[in-house]
Symmetry: C2
Subunit: 610 residues, 2 copies
């Protein structure tokens, strides 16, 4: 028996039929309704909230706990916990597509020598005295650059040469002649640099003739529906026989979407785009290439490949010029990916005087330390707290997310897009914890004070009244339900503080182990680069306050935005930089923290607030 | 309205429906009935004879002339001239699949170093102290041999390594690691060498571990239905938009058929075959690779490629191991193909002392002259007379073909397979002309004598009675209708003599021009190699008698069989020989006869019989 389900989401209202007893989340996914599911539907994150009108089964204790009494009373349910057992209406407040994605970055001037170049040549037409074959004719004019063994390319030659009276444009990459086109097409030479984040995808259109950025496009990674973190997604590729194919198609579709948007906005043809340079973490690089990533997930954490690869884009399903190339930046290890290599490149730290520390904080914190002479790296599992997952009211950096808090000049907050608050994102959480520490709401162990504590009475009235109990847990109220988009209080609970302590301890301990490994002192670090979306928005003072960054680094910290994207851009407009990326990859020494007993000691120590 | 057509051919009897008015040849082709059509259905060759029962339109004058009164009276019609306008029965005496294909050859001992080799290695399993990626782990054990940029290959690595506890078999070609398989598979390593002739295809299965030939399979080239010669087939690829695809599929299907037969006869899996080495004329090589061959057909005769190519077999649709390779032997020019390069290789002439002359006679005569120091080549359009086309009763080297004639000991002939005669093949035609010359039936100009000639009365009675008139033309009767499989007289007509004069003059003139070009004398030629099917069966004395081979070469001529196939075999069992093939290709200087005015003079002179 089928039930009628009316779904309201940002795209409008749809009337659908649902088989009796089908899981609501499965049903919404099947119908391509975008619901936030960081835990991939395992019932642990409490993020797949939808408002339901109509008869539903009673909420289980677990669902109730994750959702909170308040939300439940207001008709919210967690899609993953519920079955469809009657006609219902479902309201989905999805944030998808409205994320604030960091696409800006500190950019360097790099030598302009794009990875693909073109040359227009007028070949001598053959005659009975000069019967060289077509392939010899075009390669002869290419200064020793030969053609790769590409049967599709050779097949085009006879027509291309004769359709243009032997006046053709040759395309080169590295030491190869990679395409031949009729006529003079040298004016058209575009490339796309793409940074594939676990959460967000940022794409940049480059005019390779000038090296200039022409357009930017960003979107959320559609793989999110299989979990916020790479491990959930790898799990899916292991448990579902078509999982890897799906993961691959989802991410390739993002690249194709970016190409399509660039073409329509820039009035280009797909054929005008000849190269895509891709960076991302090691798992994303595997998904892009459809290489099984299973062994990245479990010790001893072995990637299929960490190399730089250059494939015909068509062999990867990327829809640009059929003879265009997709270049995969190299990775260092299972958890130091191509994005980190790209960030090291664009930061310039690999050639800097002195010692730099680069930190990219996400679900994992990738940390690189060093300079001209040596480079060490490690990766530490911070968990997705900084991305809003595992935090009661945590959200990504989307419209309506509380992103900045001020405890100093009377308690206040701002939201992304100045919208009504829908939750709190990473930078907001760091501000909140820093503020709570400053005013004494949490002690150095991370415990939220209660009436029995001496300090309680000294708290300002406006702060004290925010100390509440939510679903049986101590919490600090950030925004009352009436100020919010949904009628749900936004607060930091004791559990949230613990999550953040874990996360910051992981990063801080990683930094300390790396510094030790390099045989230097924290004071020797000359500059700190915060890379990535989180690094762009975080309040550095708050990060130092909570001990996410060691206090010794104060005054040396700088946000460099989407450094991975900037590195990808450098790698497409300059083959010299692309070669440097490969050199950086081989120079970076990877330290496996799980093999370092001292990491655990540092981690425990860093759990405390100072 | 549809008519009922009952088709009887060697596969049995089928009852089919035919749309009213459809061309009979088209109908038979559509229903995959194999009819011999050297002219590709243009109505010029008179070979698509079928016997029809039932109402047909009256034969046109052209059809009557091609078919002959006798055949017409016996119910024969030319399929290409007729439409289906009533219910009929069609009897097809196809020779397809019963051809006598020369697969034997003079073979040399060559160094055994197959183009693909295997090595079984037990890799150290990764651990936390050794986190090298899978690709690094397998390439590290390959002595510097790296992996090609093959995304499909990289995708297999994670599972292959772990499904076999890191004990794997690596495959190498040139300086590349081209596949990795679980476990020890070193015992299984097969390759196929294929000689793609315009008429016939010969395939050889090789055990690459021993270098020994394991099986042989030959079949007729199914492209024959689009014409006996390469020009008709190129025409078809130009006039029909899907023609090149079809031509390619037909020939690839032959390779796959051979692989399939070898697997079932040898109890092998497709995966056990790792390499296919292919030789053929330049057009066949283009069709194999699906490269447009248009420009081979018209001056200045430019191939798309003459290079040696090595493609993943799967990229060519060849169904062997998915990581196997297809190696295309190199060509010299539009009309000196990979088969000639392979023949030069296996003949050993490129490293011989003294001067050798290699001749491969087919529709084109390919001629190579030289030795260790230099090699010249030319190609001359002999036309398909030696293959039986354009000859009234000409047939290929099939069962029932008259292949040897003896005028000395009383007139007699033999047929292939000792069957009733169905026609006369190339070697038979040469014998016939030589015999007719010897006994005086034709004079030195090629004219068949008549009663007015002085010599007529001196002819032996048994010969004189064979001088007949066929469809208004002087002719020499070879076999009377009653001796034949079909009730049709088999004879050599005056026109047939002229066809043969043209053909032999072309070859002989080519030889002379080449000798002159090389600055030597005919006497300086130390040995003559006759290659190919025709070369295997021809009576050398007859060839000298008619002047197909200059008289100076008497005593130095040797048939070497399918030298092209032998060269392909050398090229698969020995990478040294494959490299030599490429060297030979670059050493051979090609002489374009159409650019040599002296060729026409020689040609005219060679028309005469001496």
């Amino acid at each position: 028996m089928d039930y009628n389900v009316k779904v309201h989401d940002k795209s409008g209202t749809r009337s659908l039929k649902a088989g009796a007893g089908i899981n609501l989340l499965d049903f919404l996914r099947m119908n391509s309704v975008d619901v936030d599911t960081p835990c991939s539907g395992k019932g642990t994150c409490g993020k797949c909230k939808v408002r339901v009108q109509g008869l539903m089964e009673e909420a289980s204790e677990k669902e109730m706990k994750l959702l909170g009494k308040n939300a439940l009373e207001n008709g919210y349910r967690l899609a993953c916990y519920n079955k469809i057992t009657s006609d219902i209406e479902v309201y989905v407040d999805s944030d998808a597509g409205e994320a604030k994605i960091a696409t800006g970055a500190k950019e360097r001037e790099v030598e302009h020598c794009p990875i693909i170049s073109k040359r227009f040549v007028k070949l001598k037409a053959p005659d009975i005295e000069d019967q060289a074959s077509d392939i010899e004719r075009v390669t002869a004019c290419s200064g020793g650059f030969d053609m790769p063994e590409d049967i599709a390319l050779i097949r085009t030659l006879p027509h291309v040469l004769r359709n243009s009276d032997f006046a053709v444009t040759c395309g080169y990459m590295d030491d190869k002649l990679i395409f031949v086109e009729p006529g003079d097409t040298t004016q058209k030479l575009y490339g796309i640099a793409v940074d594939i984040g676990t959460t967000t995808v940022a794409a940049y259109l480059l005019d390779l003739n000038t090296g200039k950025k022409r357009d930017v496009y960003s979107l959320l990674n559609p793989q999110r529906k299989y979990g916020a973190d790479v491990l959930s997604r790898i799990d899916y590729t292991v448990s579902c026989p078509t999982g890897l194919d799906e993961m691959n198609e989802l991410i390739i579709s993002c690249v194709n979407e970016a190409a399509s948007v660039f073409c329509s906005r820039g009035n280009l043809a797909r054929e005008d785009i000849y190269a895509v340079v891709l960076v991302g973490n090691t798992t994303m690089m595997h998904f892009l290439m459809k290489i099984p990533a299973n062994n990245i997930a479990a010790a001893p954490f072995i990637p299929g490949t960490t190399r730089m690869h250059k494939f015909r884009a068509r062999d990867m399903g990327i829809e640009i010029n059929p003879f265009g190339y997709a270049v995969m930046f190299p990775c260092v290890s299972a958890y130091i990916g191509a994005d980190t290599v790209a960030a090291v490149l664009s930061s310039g730290m690999y050639e800097n005087d002195g010692i730099s520390l680069l930190i990219d904080i996400g679900t994992n914190g990738e940390i690189v330390l060093g300079g001209r002479d040596w480079l060490y790296s490690c990766s530490t599992a911070a968990g997705p707290a900084f991305e809003g997952a595992n935090i009661r009211n945590g959200v990504g950096g989307v419209k309506g997310a509380i992103d900045k808090l001020d405890f100093a000049g009377g308690f206040s907050y701002t939201t992304i897009g100045d919208s009504k608050a829908i939750g709190i994102c990473g930078s907001g959480i760091v501000d909140a914890i820093a503020g709570m520490l400053s005013v004494g709401v949490i002690d150095e162990t991370g415990r939220i004070v209660d009436e029995d504590d001496e300090i309680y009475s000294q708290l300002h009235e406006s702060i004290r009244e925010r100390l509440v109990d939510i679903d049986g847990m101590k919490a600090f109220l950030i925004a009352k339900a009436e100020e919010c988009a949904s009628p749900i209080d936004i607060a930091i609970t004791q559990k949230d503080v613990r999550e953040l302590q874990n996360a910051k301890a992981a990063i801080a301990a990683g930094i300390k182990v790396l510094v030790k490994e390099a045989g230097i002192k924290m004071e020797d670090v000359d500059r700190v680069y915060l890379a990535g979306g989180f690094g762009s928005y975080i309040n550095i003072a708050s990060a130092l306050k909570i001990g996410l960054l060691p206090a010794e680094l104060e005054g040396r910290v700088e946000s460099i935005g989407n450094a991975a994207g900037a590195g990808a851009i450098e790698g497409i407009v300059s083959s010299v930089m692309l070669a440097k990326a490969d050199e950086i990859r081989s120079r970076i020494k990877y330290i496996e923290l799980s093999a370092k007993p001292e990491f655990v000691d540092e981690y425990v120590e860093c759990m405390m607030f100072e």
